[in-house]
Point group: C2
Chain length 161, copies 2
DNA sequence: TTTAATCCTAGTATTTTACTTGGAATTAAA
DNA sequence: TTTAATTCCAAGTAAAATACTAGGATTAAA
């Protein structure tokens, strides 16, 4: 039951981008550097985020990315879904989230009680991630940073895995 | 962010076992048959469940498994943790759930705002799975079954993947 | 002594993850 | 007009994780 690097890096990147909305554009290379994420890997995430409308881009020198809408209107759920495809911990036909008509899969769909559990887990996750917005995280981040203004990360220790 | 077959099969198996507590012992082969799970794969889950004290076993002919304690005292969380190791969607040093002292990993641990998000996701999941007990599921299952007493699963359609 | 079961260790095919590579296209600035 | 900085795109790939299978050894009831 793990969130992959896509979701984890994706959120970090979006928080970083949101924290630099004073700048005209933000290049992937700068995000990658600050967040200790491989730039070419970030490209893939950027592509997903763009498809989802969460960021816009301008090409060429001095180009880069901007948020697609205000940070207060982008939820963590939006980001994770864009990067991971879905935030469901279990997806099986017959669950509400998959509105694939009929019980197309599981043997004896209405007898599958665990379905009930998966549904609860999925809504718990969804409710949580849809209730947190980038704007809050940016605020939190600034607070933390001003508390320790001297500490500047550096990639060596972590970030990768 | 997917729950693996271990957790999914594990819970199904435990519900099945809990539904047959009138019998002396329940063999893996019978669970495997009813739940459409490979018996040899189930053995591995049974071993984890036993280590966690969620089931007890007796060897030899006529042997089999029983619940380690009452179904009302075994939560879905207990089962999932036994099978999957943890129910955390993200584990990184610095999170409460990992009480590994110091910020042993992430660059600039206190600046990592996403930590705050992972924590919320993890608690949401934990709270959910720790609040559902096998006894409820058995009851639900019986209700569903008596509603459609004629339907008997059969493995063909699903169960595997 | 046969048979039905748990128990145990290891192997393996497949899938997924986490990247990298090698460019092409676009645009601002020199 | 060239150069440099950037996004964009499609494939390839090594390593890890997943979802099993195989082959027994052990135990105990019938």
């Amino acid at each position: 039951m793990k969130l992959s690097t896509k979701g984890r890096y994706g959120l970090r990147a979006m928080i970083d981008l949101a924290s630099h909305m004073d700048e005209e554009t933000v290049s992937l290379s700068s995000i990658a550097r600050r967040e200790c994420i491989s730039e070419s890997y970030l490209e893939q995430l950027a592509s997903s985020l763009k498809k989802a409308g969460l960021v816009t881009s301008s090409r060429g020198a001095q180009g880069g990315y901007r948020l697609g809408r205000d940070a207060s209107e982008i939820s963590v759920g939006d980001v994770l879904r864009a990067c991971e495809g879905s935030t469901d911990a279990v997806s099986c036909p017959g669950l509400k989230s998959e509105s694939a008509g009929k019980e197309s899969g599981c043997a004896g769909a209405e007898m599958c009680v665990s379905k009930y559990v998966w549904e609860k887990i999925n809504t718990a996750i969804t409710d949580t991630v849809d209730g947190i917005y980038l704007s809050e995280l940016v605020k939190e981040s600034r607070k933390a940073r001003t508390g320790h203004p001297d500490e500047l990360p550096g990639c060596a220790a972590g970030g990768k895995r």
